[in-house]
Structure formats: structure tokens, C-alpha cells
Symmetry: C2
Subunit: 86 residues, 2 copies
């Protein structure tokens, strides 16, 4: 499955979440990760996020079966380690 | 078509982009909009973003034909005006 994760949290917590998410996913830009994971990895990620996120955070996880269902366009200079071609 | 737009830019420019994007899309959380648009609206949005974004910004536009291809899960208290059910 292909997931996109965007998080809205305080700066200190951003650093913590980034540290955990980069083990599973590709960093795209500030507070955005994406990548292909197995179902069990997805549940691990969700569990980590739920435990490590700050109380006043909000995180959205977009899930689709196949990354080919999606097109990505970018404006500005690429920041992360995500390929332009999905 | 269904689009998710995430932007990484300076605070002042965030406010400006928010002002424009809310005319077309639903605000989900800080720097994240999503919604159903026509192809011509999509091109309008992309054109606006390209003109109004700060030089050092980075914006990702995820596009899919149908919002039913996607599942959304959220952690934390909902912030925006997006329904939990896609």
C-alpha cells in the first residue's frame, strides 16, 4: 500500500516524528512523508505516531492500494528524497 | 478529480496561499488542503500557486481521478472542514 503522512505539530515534536517516520518512508518536504509499506508496517507507523505525537497535534494518513493511482506534481525546488515519478 | 495540496513555505506566505486555496478546496490542517475540482480549476490553482508562492517554498500536489481510491485516517482533534468519510 502507498501512504502519504502529513503532520501538524509543535517544532520539537516535528523532530521526533521525523526521526521515526524516516525509518519507514521517504521524506518529501517539511512535515510530509510518503512511501510504500506493508499492512503491518502501516499499523506500526500508526501506533508510533499515536504514542509519540504531541497532545495538540493533528496527523492525516492518506492510504491507497497502489501508488500508480496517484500523480504527483511539485512546485519549487525539491527538498526530500522522493522521486518525481510515481 | 481529487487533489491534496501540501505547502512548505514561510509564515507570511502560508497566510496568502491559504486565502487563495480556500476558494477551491477544503482546509484539512496546517498547510494541507484537499477536495474535488475540475481539470480547469486544477490548472487555475496551479497557476495561482506558482505566482503567489514564496521563492523558497515547496508545494506538492497529489492528484487522483476519484476520491474513492483513497482512505483517510486522522490522529488528534480535527482542525479543518474536511469530512472523516471520503
Amino acid at each position: 500500500m502507498f501512504v502519504i503522512i502529513v503532520y501538524d505539530t509543535e517544532a520539537k515534536n516535528c523532530v521526533k516524528l521525523h526521526k521515526h517516520l524516516k525509518k519507514y518512508l521517504n521524506w518529501n518536504q517539511n512535515s510530509v512523508f510518503e512511501g510504500i509499506v506493508t499492512k503491518s508496517q502501516y499499523f506500526e507507523i500508526k501506533d508510533i505516531l499515536d504514542r509519540k505525537r504531541a497532545e495538540k497535534s493533528h496527523i492525516t494518513l492518506y492510504i491507497m492500494e497502489n501508488e500508480k493511482l496517484l500523480t504527483r506534481e511539485e512546485l519549487g525546488e525539491a527538498r526530500g528524497n522522493v522521486s518525481n515519478i510515481i
